[in-house]
Amino acid sequence: MIQNIPLSYYLVISTLMFFIGIYGFLTRRNLITMLMSVELILNSVNINFVAFNRYLYPQQLEGHFFMLIVIAVAAAEAAVAIAIIINIYRNFKSIDVENVDEMKY
């Protein structure tokens, strides 16, 4: 199934996705969209793990496990982050990072 597709194509796609995620994290001002940028970054890392596993070590399963663990961590992170965001919204009536500066020294 992977004939005629070099490994670097997968890496190019995941690199573009990673840096688009970083751009979104730097420019967005809404906490939920920042969280979505972080999900993009984590997902691009997953593509890397899986592609390396398939191309370089096809008889082993290490990439599978790393990908599953990254997904579990991403799910935990999303759950906690959304709990914090909802709490912030309850206290500040806004989830804009510019408005949440209560603890800024």
């Binding site: 573009l16 996705m17 496990f65 579990a72 935990a76 999303a78």
Partner: protein, 171 residues
């Protein structure tokens, strides 16, 4: 031939919808674009003939996390609300830094010659994956598995505690 067509289709979808995710002014639309990105990623895993990973990607990411994000968007903002973007100077600087980083990484990747290992398509069924995941012998992944399960439990309890409504003392 067909696999190349599918690969480039999914790759183009990933890049285009990632860009739309980080630039769309409407938050709910950004979440739907993120859903498209995650589904295209599952398509890439299918192209690599890793069916189990694609299924996990579809259920956990596209089914779980995106639904969670959409719920929280609906709880915290109006659907028609337009997101505020960073000032122009900051956007330009971020774009410059990002493009510079991407160029550097892409040059490095394209210069390095990866040698794919030869051989037929491997076939794993889910039993192999599960057996090695919970094996404690050589090449087993029992410890990370346990650590992740404890992490998930802690995150679950933490999310409940943080999002719980505080009992107000003054009446």
């Amino acid at each position: 031939m067909l696999n190349q067509v599918m690969f480039f289709l999914f790759g183009a979808m990933i890049v285009i919808f990632s860009l739309l995710t980080v630039t769309s002014r409407k938050v709910l639309r950004a979440a739907v674009y993120l859903l498209f990105v995650l589904i295209s990623t599952a398509g890439l895993y299918f192209a690599l003939s890793y069916n189990f990973l694609a299924a996990v990607q579809l259920t956990v990411y596209a089914g779980g996390i995106v639904v969670l994000i959409i719920f929280s968007i609906l709880l915290t903002s109006h659907v028609s609300e337009r997101a505020v973007m960073a000032p122009l100077k900051q956007s330009l600087l971020s774009a410059l830094a990002t493009v510079a980083g991407a160029t550097l990484t892409l040059l490095t990747i394209l210069q390095f010659g990866f040698v794919p290992s030869e051989g037929t398509d491997p076939y794993f069924n889910i039993t192999d994956i599960g057996n090695q995941l919970i094996s404690y012998k050589r090449d087993g992944y029992a410890l990370p598995f346990e650590v992740v399960s404890v992490l998930l439990l802690a995150a679950m309890i933490g999310a409940i505690v943080v999002a719980k409504k505080e009992r107000t003392l003054k009446k």
